[in-house]
Symmetry: C2
Subunit: 260 residues, 2 copies
DNA sequence: CGCCACTTTGAATTAGCTCAAATTCCGTGG
DNA sequence: CCACGGAATTTGAGCTAATTCAAAGTGGCG
């Protein structure tokens, strides 16, 4: 039987204690949260963006649609879905408050994916030509846009690494960890998260079947890394976020400990 | 036994003939090739970039290194490798002439991956602050940089989709198709390509083992989709690029035809 | 209340992995 | 020029993680 508490602070930074890491992470999250708020404030002041309330299932933009606008998520959750012309659908990204949408359309003049709201939220829409024009005068804005694109590139690579190197259980654990971390960066609680996706969507995003997602979640719950909040299995408690991260680590050591 | 010629023009655009598609693709490639040349000319004129010759194995920049420069590949081939702190290595991208390197470093002030030359080539290095400064005055440059980032985002998503939705054989076929297409876009011949990567590197990039890559290549060769140019199995002939693309399509239809 | 979408779990199957051995290629030094 | 050694590749055989197929179970909502 696996004891998730056995390896409490799997050594990342040689000198750092688990507590120290947590504090530092907390600082970083606060900084990021402030960064988001400042970004939104700046955009609001500069652009008077068109605001739109979206509900679960609403399309924000669509593959093939002519690109003319960038969007910023002020609240809610969005999934990014790539469609191949042969009919494959692939969830390729998740977006949270403060994230930008639509960069994919810049190069070809048309969006290359669908973006779908997974919950009620507010999307701000900016004309790209206006963004470009103001970037010229305002280096702060320019930096901000570049940083957003850069983050997206780095995040996409992490996704690929996760899919390519982790087992199904570890991928699901890492997905939950990522989701919780994204909430933490926005100043939200992370001990309890509400998945806005079905098992099928999660599986699609992680490159596995919905049954495997379900089994992995059950295994993670069985050994106490997560708990299902009664009634509805979309609500998940994460008693110790670090334990999830540790599990991902352990799952790829040679002397691999597995869930049971 | 699979006959790859059985489905010569698997319907993509309803009204398009295979020939028409090829011509249109040819046009697009020429446009892109010109676009690259113009980009390089513009950068050369604007920045007098520092030029550096790299050889196979040379590191262009490294994970953790302070970010201050963007790079543009003037010639050669580069792989982008993500390193996780727990020691995993993941090839997350391939770069060709005209591609930019280093966007990942913008957000955090430090590069988040290694970039390694796979062949002799020339890298141009630009100071990021200088790029920013000139972007302010020159909308053409600004557009250009944004387009490069946008392309990278779109491409990364395609990678993820490929890994998540395709079988091993299809993934290898799609990898070869992508490589050939990248050459085509740069005005190079695509009927014969020299892989600059070992089976292990390809497998890492595609999320499979080196043995599986080898087996898939053998299968693709057995049914005539590719041919090994004698002496050394790095050189691969692709008699009909479209046949490779068709194979990827067919491999995911319900009535799936498989290699033998 | 009953339908429908989602989820869980089991059993059988399989694609891809691991381990192992043989082969080929290529650079190096005699 | 050829022999040697290490790295890369190929191929086979057995195994296993994840898939597929199937059958319940659960919850939300009209």
């Amino acid at each position: 039987m696996l004891d998730p508490d056995a390896v409490p602070a799997a050594g990342r930074m040689p000198g750092g204690t688990a507590c120290g890491d947590a504090l530092r992470a907390g600082d970083a999250n606060q900084r990021f949260s402030r960064h988001i708020s400042e970004t939104l404030a700046l955009l609001q002041a500069q652009f008077m963006p068109q605001r739109r309330i979206v509900h679960a299932g609403d399309l924000i933009y669509q593959t093939g649609e002519r690109f003319a606008h960038l969007h910023v998520l002020n609240s809610g959750f969005v999934k990014v879905v790539n469609l191949s012309f042969d009919g494959r659908e692939q969830v390729v990204g998740l977006k949270f408050r403060g994230d930008w949408l639509g960069f994919d359309g810049i190069a070809g003049g048309a969006y290359t994916c669908d973006t779908v709201a997974m919950d009620t939220g507010e999307v701000w829409t900016l004309r790209y030509d206006e963004v470009l024009a103001r970037c010229a005068g305002q280096s702060a804005l320019l930096r901000l846009v570049h940083e957003a694109m850069s983050r997206e590139i780095a995040r996409d690579r992490d996704s690929l690494m996760s899919v390519c190197t982790l087992s199904a259980d570890a991928r699901v654990a890492d997905f939950l960890r990522y989701w919780a971390e994204s909430l933490a960066k926005r100043g939200l609680r992370t001990d309890q998260i509400t998945l806005r996706m079905t098992r099928a969507e999660i599986g699609n995003y992680l490159g596995m079947t919905l049954e495997t997602v379900s089994r992995s979640l059950s295994r993670l719950a069985r050994c106490g890394l997560i708990e299902f909040v009664e009634k509805g299995r979309r609500e998940i408690r994460i008693p110790r976020l670090q334990a999830l991260a540790d599990f991902v680590q352990r799952s790829l050591t040679p002397a691999s400990v597995t869930l049971q």
